[in-house]
């Protein structure tokens, strides 16, 4: 059963989609709201598989809601539901890490298809927008040149085998600050753990530069 949270500030759309989904096998509407500020809380409460998110939510912008869901690591797929299928909208949806886009100017049956597809892990965007799909990943792996001085310092200590607590003592900051730096570091280097970050350090930083940095 696919659990869906519906977010739309237009009552007729909410009512219509809810009715349609309830008549669909394998889809359950676990919540609806017209209020963008409540989406993150409702998502934590109802644990939907898919959030269907309108972009125009009165005072709130749907992209702000999406940014918050991603920042708070709410584990739901997000299908943007909008009337706008122009190039700007497609690009913005990808930039905000939506899992797909469904159009209110298409049949609602296509929204249902898109819900099933994003739930299965498929990114639902028109073929034409695929040229942008690789780009967010490229941006995410920004490489060593994107590191701040502090992150670079943490990287050096981490590569020499120090724990977060030891690095924190050395730099005179809290362990949670070091953890914050290491997470950013991993993201910018495109690695998943400390070992991979240390290997990357050996590869990317010449031995001579390492010596100077430690002095």
């Amino acid at each position: 059963m696919i659990k869906v949270l519906l977010v739309d500030d237009h009552p007729l759309v909410l009512e219509g989609l809810r009715g349609l989904m309830e008549s669909e096998p394998g889809i359950e509407v676990v919540g609806t709201t017209t209020d963008g500020t409540r989406v993150a809380d409702l998502a934590r409460l109802h644990r939907p598989d898919v959030v269907v998110l309108d972009l125009e939510l009165g005072a709130t912008n749907g992209y702000d809601v999406l940014t918050r869901l991603r920042a708070e690591k709410v584990p739901a797929r997000v299908l943007v539901l909008t009337a706008y299928g122009d190039g700007e909208s497609l690009r913005a949806a990808l930039e905000h890490h939506a899992d797909g886009i469904a159009l209110k100017t298409d049949s609602p049956a296509r929204t249902i298809d898109a819900i099933r597809a994003v739930n299965a892990g498929v990114l639902v965007f028109p073929q034409a927008a695929r040229r942008w799909m690789r780009k967010p990943a490229e941006h995410a792996v920004a490489g060593p040149s994107a590191l701040s001085d502090r992150e670079r310092e943490v990287w050096g200590h981490l590569a020499s085998g120090l724990s977060n607590a030891a690095i924190a003592r050395k730099l005179g900051v809290s362990p949670s600050t070091v953890k914050f730096h290491t997470q950013n570091l991993f993201q910018k280097l495109g690695v998943g753990n400390r070992t991979a970050a240390a290997v990357e350090y050996e590869k990317q930083i010449p031995a001579a530069a390492r010596g100077r940095r430690r002095d």
């Binding site: 759309v13 122009d86 028109p126």
Partner: protein
């Protein structure tokens, strides 16, 4: 230019830069941004009104059909109603898709052109190869972005509508003074002089304001438009000064 010639072309010249025309041109550029704002508002109204209502109504019709509780005679009526509503949405989709302005102020000019290319592919099913042969400048006047966007849009739309073109090559480049965008297709081509003459005769009401609209927008920007068309296809070159 003879209508029977295999290749025809047209080139618009920059306006004479007298004090009065300069003033008129500055005023016209200001109006470009105002027109885009009006368009944005119209599209927002269509979005907030008819789109929501039609989409909501269609959802309910589809729900009734899914439940299977509708008598067969009524089901046919409902299907016809649903089909009309879907057609209405389709028309709105094409209108919004084509006319909704991108974020001109936030996006650099290269991104705006690329978005237009994706949009054209997405709306028409055509393929457009887009290349920037040099980097385009980050800082350009708003009126230049709007003009390039709308002129390229018209060039793509015209070729798709009238010549059935399904494949385009679009290139963009810049030097210190100009941005140049070129659109090339291998469609059936057309007689540029004849079409331009016809457009002047019928005016906007005749529905063929494409080339004329492009030429007028280029003139406002003191740029150059060159269109060469023949049996091997059409090349449209738009050259606009940066400042």
């Amino acid at each position: 230019m003879s209508p029977a010639s295999p290749s025809s072309s047209s080139r618009s010249r920059p306006a004479v830069a007298s004090g009065r025309t300069r003033h008129a041109s500055v005023a016209a550029r200001g109006l470009l941004a105002a027109a885009e704002r009006d368009l944005q508002q119209i599209i927002l109204d269509i979005h907030d009104g008819p789109v929501q209502d039609i989409f909501g109504a269609l959802s309910q019709i589809q729900m009734l059909r899914h439940r299977g509780e509708v008598q067969s005679s009524d089901a046919l009526v409902l299907d016809r109603v649903a089909a009309s509503l879907e057609r209405a949405l389709g028309e709105i989709r094409n209108f919004i898709g084509a006319f909704r302005p991108p974020e001109f102020e936030r996006r650099p000019v290269g991104a705006i052109l690329e978005q237009l290319v994706v949009q054209h592919e997405s709306l028409t099913g055509a393929t457009v190869d887009f290349t920037m042969t040099t980097p385009l400048p980050d800082q350009v006047p708003l009126s230049l972005k709007i003009s390039l966007y709308r002129i390229l849009q018209e060039a793509l739309a015209n070729a798709t509508r009238h010549a059935g073109v399904t494949h385009f090559e679009v290139s963009a480049r810049a030097n210190r003074r100009h941005i140049v965008v070129q659109v090339r297709d291998r469609g059936k081509g057309f007689d540029v002089a004849k079409v331009l003459k016809k457009e002047i005769d019928v005016g906007v009401a005749g529905g063929h304001f494409g080339l004329r609209g492009m030429r007028d927008r280029v003139a406002i920007m003191n740029g150059k438009l060159s269109i060469t068309s023949g049996r091997a296809g059409t090349i449209v070159t738009i050259r606009l000064p940066i400042s």
